[in-house]
Structure formats: structure tokens, C-alpha cells
Subunit: 227 residues, 2 copies
Amino acid sequence: MITLYELKGAGGRLYSLFSWRTRMALAHKGLPFESHPVPMSDKAAIAFSGGKTVPILRDGDTVVRDSWRIAEHLESAYPQAPSLFGGSIGQGLCQTFNIWADRTLVPAMLPVIVTDIHQRVDPADREYFRTMIEGILKTKLEDTLAGRDKAAERLGRTLDPLRAALKRQLFVCGESPAYADYIVFSVFQWARVMSPFNVLAEDDPVAAWRERMLALHSGFARNVPVA
Amino acid sequence: MITLYELKGAGGRLYSLFSWRTRMALAHKGLPFESHPVPMSDKAAIAFSGGKTVPILRDGDTVVRDSWRIAEHLESAYPQAPSLFGGSIGQGLCQTFNIWADRTLVPAMLPVIVTDIHQRVDPADREYFRTMIEGILKTKLEDTLAGRDKAAERLGRTLDPLRAALKRQLFVCGESPAYADYIVFSVFQWARVMSPFNVLAEDDPVAAWRERMLALHSGFARNVPVA
């Protein structure tokens, strides 16, 4: 039995972007799992993991924290299921890509959707989230909202390389999706679950790719509560 | 017989960054080749290729242009030699990474070293290069030089994700180098061949990785004329 600990939003929304990497990896591997959503402020609920953040995967007696470590675990524990990386070169490059995405895409998306996220976290987390995120962004949420148009422009520029890549091939990983697709997708699913803001124009190749991602694994990512 | 058409700099310097991707790919595959350096302004010399830029690879009767297409050619034509991508997932992700590097690392490095490049191109290319590059940068070379310290700071920030990745693993592709390493290395080799400017601090993990890259294939990239 596999259990995934992830963030609990209002109205059943599952909004941990890093947990979406794990969710998609589990679906890719065809592994059933039980979701265990917890409020962000409830650190006691995840103290068993030895850490303070989700995702946490409990797989039998094994507990794994951190989405990248979880992906490595799934790849080595379930080698017969479809591969997330396609071998050691793909896995190494994917770790580099993972860090690249975390340090460019995530900070570009955050200011665009953060005020919407604040309104949709679990009610118990409202003040906790504001304090944490205003510390990270060093701005009041209201001021971040006032700068949203500029942030959206910056996001558009940050997506340029991805846009060019997706004009050449169907997926980040080529003809078929693999873990690097889930890395990028998690950022857009985070936005989709928590914000009504249109982060992509309809004719953007990235939007067409997002539709392909939403169709994967029988609409696994499409059929969830969203903004 | 394989022939590589690449850029001819002053004093035997080989400075086409994209050709360095091909050079390293050929060394990785263990394929001997003959270098055919041409001045940048001599478009007649490469007209046979149907294009106006190097690298161009002539492999028997096959002519391939564009470093990415050349890498794909080498991988499919020499499948028994060490792989550049490690399979289809790695190859797809590598194409995305290639575009990402071209649109982030290359433009971050260019203003830091461009005035030094100008002084080291083939003498016949001096004016051609200035006109071309001032058109691309929309600035006089002298003004680009005046802004070098700021450009170097921007480069440092652009390298942050790579720096973080190389703290976790020895190479961009994990435990061993593969084509994505050559993509990034080409940008540093371009700088090394043409500019005395220190683009990396000695204690930078990226500098340690660059040393590992220079040691590959019997010092293949180290033992060339440099700035």
C-alpha cells in the first residue's frame, strides 16, 4: 500500500506543486495510492517523516521525503513499470532539469498566482500561509497582486525556451511524456488548481502541451477540483 | 572519413561554440575527424551545405548542418559507440535542454566575452564580426565592454541552477558526461578559447566541473590554442 501525504486546500483542492510531480509519477508507473491531504500548518501530522514539508511517500515500511527522492525511489523500486527517466543519462539530466525548473519556472509562476492561492488554502492555513509567503516574497500579498501583469509578462518570457522546445516535439521528453514533463506540468497544475488567472494564451504551444498532459492516464490530472 | 567545418579564429583558435558540441560528441563516440576551419565571412566555402553557418559535418556522402541535427545523426549512425543521450527519453529531454541553454546561457555569456572574441577572430572577419554582433546586441562593442561587470553578475545568476545541480552530481548528466554536458561545456570553451576574462570563480562548482570536462578524452578540449 502506497500513501501520499500532500497539501489540503479548501474544497478538496490538492495544491502542492511538488506533490503533483509524485502524483503524475505514480500514475505513470500505474501504481495505485491513497492520498492523505494535510493542512500546511499541521506539522505534527507529518512529523513521522522527520521533515516539515510534503510530498511524503509511505511505501510499505519505507518513508521517502522530497519529490525528487520519491521519483528516484519509484524508479528503482518499480523497474518493470514504465520508466520515468529512461536510464542513467536521462536520470542525471533530469535532476539538473529539476533544479533548473525549480529556480526559474517556480519563482516566475509564484507571484502570478499567489494571491489566488491564499484565498484557496485550507481555512486553518490562511494566516500561516500569508506570513510564510510574505516572508519569502518580501512583499505584502496586496502589493504582489498589484504587480501581477508585470509578473505575468516575466513568466511569459521565462517560458520562451519551453515554448520553442514544444514547437519541435510533443513533450518535454520527446515523443512521449516522462518525469521532466511532470516537473514542468506540476507548475501549471498548481496554477490550474488554485487560480482562475489565464497563465497561457490559447494559441501558446505550451497550452496545447498542457492539454496533452491533462489527457494522460485517463484524465488523471484533469478530473480534480480546480479554481 | 568525417570532416567538421568550423570557425577559424586568429592563431589557430577554434571558437565556434556550436562546433564544440560536435567536437565533444565526436570524441565521446571515439570517431576520428578532420577539422576544416573557415572564416566566418567566407560563405562560399560552406555553400555546398545549403546553409550559412557552421558546424557542418560531412560524413561520407552525408552532409548534416546544425549541431543538434549532427548529434542526432551521430547517435543514429553510430549506435554501437557510447551513447550521447541514453535512449529516447534522454534524447527528447536533451533537445529541450539544448534550447534552454541556447536561450539562457549563451545570451548571458555573449556580452561578457564578445569584445575579446572580436580581437581574436580571423583578421579577415574583423569588420564582418563587428557589424554582425553590433546588430545582434544593438550596442557598440565599446559600450558592451563598459557594461561587462554587470553582464558578468547576470551570468553568475544565470548559472545558479547549474551550480546547484553540480553540487549534487559530478556531471550535468549524472555520474558520467553525455551530450547535455557538451552543450553547457561549449559555452565555457567558447569563452576559454577567446577571452582571458575569468568567467568563473575558482571555488565555483561549475569551475570544478569544467576541469573534469577538460580532462575528458585525453584532454581533448584542453590541448587547443586558447586566449
